[in-house]
């Protein structure tokens, strides 16, 4: 493949407003969208703001919207677009813009703090933890999360309704609750924390109507809805309406 010139439209501006700017820029074989943004910085717009770190889909920094789709700039190949297509880059819509492609994602860090942390089991010292691979596998899937917040950006509960941000933690952090709940040794119950109830009452699980949009954009391919949110909903419901199930779970857990 030879080099060609592509047409980009990049949103430039800050809190006070801004707009799409047109650029014509060279594209070479094998490049990803982030390479093109870097070329724009080096040749045409040195102050173009963008976040990135690893350039290999591992850190979750370079999230933005490409032709309206939430994506990682570093994992989107130029070859998925035709040569005459105009490629539009805009910042994540669900978060306030800081400058150009950079948004204020502090909402996510606030939500992260609201989820009670892992509670280590009493009586097990460092080095004494024993867990089977099949039991850690479920939480491990969720720990693949690179915190790109694309799922948060795409979820309509947050994207379309600013007022929901207070009550709804978003798929990323509901999944975190689910992850801790499935951790084989988490002793939250013993510490008086009911993670399932908290998911419902404090993190807004009820707002999720399992559209699976979050799962579709996750660059790590985590089955957020099927594996984290739906099971959490099922168990949260059990607890709310069936005290016996709740008691039963509690007893079984103690024995195990």
């Amino acid at each position: 493949m030879s080099a060609y010139e592509a047409h980009f439209r990049v949103w430039r501006g800050d809190v006070d407003g801004g707009g799409l700017r047109d650029f014509r820029v060279e594209v070479n074989e094998g490049e990803v969208v982030l390479d093109i943004v870097h070329r724009l910085q080096a040749t045409q717009a040195p102050d173009l703001a963008v976040r990135w770190n690893c350039k290999a889909g591992k850190c979750g920094s370079c999230s933005a919207e490409i032709n309206g789709q939430p994506r990682l700039l570093c994992m989107t190949r130029m070859s998925v677009f035709s040569r005459d297509e105009t490629i539009t880059l805009t910042p994540l819509r669900a978060f306030p813009v800081v400058r150009d492609l950079v948004t204020d994602v502090s909402f996510n860090y606030t939500k992260a703090r609201e989820v009670p942390s892992f509670v280590p089991p009493e009586g097990l010292g460092p080095g004494e933890y024993r867990m089977q691979q099949e039991d850690v596998g479920r939480s491990q899937e969720f720990r693949k999360c690179i915190e790109c917040f694309l799922c948060q950006d795409t979820c309509h509960v947050l994207r379309d309704f600013e007022q929901n941000k207070e009550a709804f933690a978003g798929p990323r952090f509901l999944m975190r609750v689910s992850e801790l709940d499935m951790h084989p040794l988490d002793a939250a119950g013993e510490a008086g924390i009911d993670r399932k109830r908290a998911a419902q009452d404090e993190h807004g699980l009820g707002y999720c109507n399992i559209t699976k949009c979050c799962t579709e954009v996750c660059p790590e391919g985590i089955k957020i809805t099927d594996n984290a949110l739906i099971p959490l909903k099922e168990r949260a419901v059990d607890r709310k309406y069936d005290p016996l199930v709740w008691l039963g779970n509690k007893i079984r857990r103690r024995e195990g």
């Binding site: 800050d14 070479n28 074989e29 094998g30 490049e31 990803v32 390479d35 910085q41 080096a42 040195p46 102050d47 173009l48 703001a49 963008v50 976040r51 990135w52 770190n53 690893c54 350039k55 290999a56 889909g57 591992k58 850190c59 979750g60 920094s61 994992m75 190949r77 800081v98 400058r99 150009d100 950079v102 994602v105 860090y109 992260a112 703090r113 009670p116 942390s117 892992f118 280590p120 460092p126 080095g127 933890y129 024993r130 867990m131 089977q132 691979q133 850690v136 939480s139 491990q140 720990r143 693949k144 999360c145 690179i146 915190e147 801790l180 951790h183 988490d186």
Partner: protein
């Protein structure tokens, strides 16, 4: 003076990677108020990219393992140039540091009996690397991040403020360590917020450098934009020396195609799990490259190497698992000899070694990376790989037990920015463990130091003149275009007024990377390094005219213009030390001095700023450098540790004189 926001904390940690976060946790748990400053968002430091694992002799997979064996491997890997005390502490404490992560919620892959699983890696005698697939760094950083959050939750419960005792200042860059008016003790740091461009100063008696490495000075690198050697430069500018800067690790396996991904890492686990290297003739060439010092330790035939994966007690490991410097050089030689792959690398193949399902389970992110970025399905075809700049062994000269930087009271360093631990070459997996072991020690001793300063009423106060100078220095790129310096700067250095047009910082950076890559890269020669020093000096002159457009709000051009100072300082250290060391050892290979020389093992090269009082007026005379080199004798290895090795082996590294002592 320029408007700066000021705050006071007990301990400031610069860096939120594994070392920085571990230090912060320790300082906070020791009762100190701790501020963490980092250039990226919280949770995105370079550590997140680590793949293969974390080395600790827990002995979960092979009971023969213990700290002594780990110590031995580490010293061998570093060709005995390691500071033995650091290697000892590291090997002894690594298991506790890993187990502790489990109590903070980490979920490592498991052995059948439910313990933490451990995998093979180059240079490690036993399966030793605790891991989570090939995303171990993510697990490490997330666990530390979540531990910080849990401490903040405790503080919130007690005080109503999450950030009462532990605060992360994300997307902030420190540009200077500030000292007291006497210029003796550390008094705080100066920096800017990336988002707003606003300056800030934090007063603190103790500062921990945990800023990672320098790889962004090289063109082909696995490192991110953050790796501009800031901590190395901050230490130099504060008067602390660096050691071992000639030792830069080129990882043998980076991606080579397509060009835009050149340098991105292909984890060593690929080889640890059975992947083999072949040249264009289909030959497993590593068998031809086993150096004498390792002859007895590696398989001599493919059959033996293959049997080792199943029966490691009765066979020797395949030479694909030699330490990284050996493998990187071998690949380089094969390519040079015309036996490379189509895009200038060699072939790394797992597809013929393991079923597709196993590959996808054990190496998920490699599978993903090649499929997404190179259209290669590693379960069906070989990868093309070649060396990439990966890690710097050199760093701040520290006290092994306390991580205190030499000569600057109140300054500490841990992680990749610290020197000594890995000698001339780091073993895979030994970095993540290093971060935790020495991050913890740095946090602990910084906290003690701060506590003593508070108790004795001697908290140093930052010198206003230094803060003013730091602000002027940071603003310089905005006035570069008309050749004018801000008044504070020009006053002190009238003779150094830049003349000529403003320079594009991106162009300067590219030229710097090309210079280091071509002239001080994996194979070095005296003439080329001298050439490099000249080019660096010329770049330094031009970098004083690096100019930027726009304003201070999230302006990457401005950030890069500021970072150039650090990259130039650090690159000069690498080039000068590499030119001085007339032997080949670990991550320093001289074409003109190919042998390892036992006399050189006793020498550490120490880099210092040649004129610490020069402030911003860095010499513009290309003949003069900014760095002065000194030779220093390495401390003798404690006899009981030497006794862990056979005499036959020691004679390869130690001089006769040392052996008879």
């Amino acid at each position: 003076m320029t408007q700066v926001e000021r705050q006071a904390w007990d301990v400031v940690v610069i860096g939120a990677g594994g070392a920085g976060l571990r230090a912060a946790i320790e300082a906070r748990e020791a009762g100190m108020r701790c501020a963490v400053i980092c250039k990226s968002l919280f949770g995105k430091a370079h550590t997140v990219m680590a793949e293969g694992g974390i080395a600790a002799s827990m002995g979960n997979v092979n009971e023969g393992d213990n700290w002594q064996v780990h110590f031995r491997d580490t010293m061998r890997g570093g060709k005995f140039l390691n500071h033995w005390r650091m290697a000892e502490l590291h090997a002894q404490e690594a298991p506790d540091r890993v187990w502790e992560l489990e109590t903070w919620g980490a979920l490592f892959d498991r052995t059948p009996d439910g313990r933490i699983s451990q995998r093979n890696f180059g240079g490690h005698e036993y399966p030793r690397l605790a891991h989570v697939g090939d995303r171990t760094g993510l697990e490490l950083i997330r666990t530390l991040q979540q531990k910080i959050v849990s401490l903040q939750q405790e503080d919130h419960a007690e005080t109503g403020d999450y950030e009462a005792r532990l605060k992360v200042f994300q997307e902030c860059t420190v540009t200077r360590i500030v000292k007291d008016a006497a210029g003796e003790k550390v008094a705080g740091v100066f920096g800017y917020e990336r988002e707003s461009g606003r300056f800030f100063a934090i007063e603190a008696p103790a500062v921990v450098l945990a800023t990672g490495g320098i790889g962004k000075s090289f063109k082909v690198t696995s490192n991110s934009w953050e790796y501009t050697g800031d901590g190395h430069a901050l230490a130099l500018l504060a008067g602390a020396p660096l050691i071992n800067m000639e030792f830069v690790q080129f990882h043998p396996t980076g991606m080579v195609w397509p060009p835009s991904v050149k340098g991105i890492l292909v984890t060593e686990s690929v080889r640890g799990d059975g992947g083999v290297l072949r040249n264009s003739e289909g030959k497993r060439f590593m068998f031809d490259y086993i150096p004498d010092v390792f002859k007895e330790k590696y398989a001599q035939s493919e059959d033996e190497g293959d049997r080792w994966y199943e029966d490691p007690d009765h066979n020797r490991r395949p030479p694909e698992l030699l330490p990284r410097d050996e493998v990187a050089r071998a690949i380089n030689s094969e390519v040079k000899a015309g036996r490379g792959s189509p895009h200038g690398g060699v072939f790394l193949d797992v597809s013929t070694r393991m079923p597709a399902e196993v590959i996808k389970r054990r190496l998920p992110s490699m599978h993903h990376q090649f499929k997404e970025l190179a259209d290669v399905d590693i379960t069906a075809e070989p990868m093309e790989v070649g060396p990439t700049c990966h890690y710097v062994m050199g760093g701040v000269d520290v006290d092994p037990d306390t991580a205190a930087a030499s000569g600057v009271p109140g300054l500490f360093a841990a992680g990749e920015v610290a020197g000594g631990m890995h000698g001339s070459n780091r073993l895979g997996g030994n970095s993540l463990s290093d971060l935790l072991v020495f991050g913890r020690r740095a946090g602990l001793h910084a906290a003690r130091y701060a506590q003593e300063a508070a108790a004795s009423g001697t908290r140093p106060v930052p010198d206003d003149a230094q803060l003013d100078l730091a602000a002027a220095e940071a603003l310089r790129p905005f006035s570069a275009e008309d050749g004018e310096l801000p008044s504070a700067v020009s006053a002190g250095s009238a003779a150094e007024q830049p003349a000529g047009p403003a320079e594009n910082p991106y162009t300067l950076h590219q030229e710097l990377q090309q210079t280091m890559n071509d002239l001080v890269g994996i194979i070095r020669r005296a003439g080329e390094m001298e050439d490099a020093l000249h080019r660096l000096a010329a770049l330094r002159v031009r970098a004083r005219r690096a100019g930027v457009e726009g304003h201070r709000q999230f302006n990457p051009g401005w950030h890069l213009a500021i970072d150039l100072r650090n990259m130039l300082l650090v690159s000069e250290c690498v080039a000068r030390a590499a030119l001085e060391r007339t032997e080949s050892r670990g991550g320093h290979t001289r074409d003109d001095c190919p042998e390892m020389d036992r006399e050189w093992r006793r020498v550490n090269l120490v880099c210092r700023l040649s004129d610490p009082s020069a402030g911003l007026a860095a010499p513009t005379d290309p003949g003069r450098g900014q760095i002065r080199l000194e030779r220093r004798e390495t401390p003798p290895i404690r006899p009981d540790l030497l006794n862990l090795f056979e005499k036959d082996e020691l004679v390869k590294y130690l001089t006769d004189e040392e052996l008879t002592q």
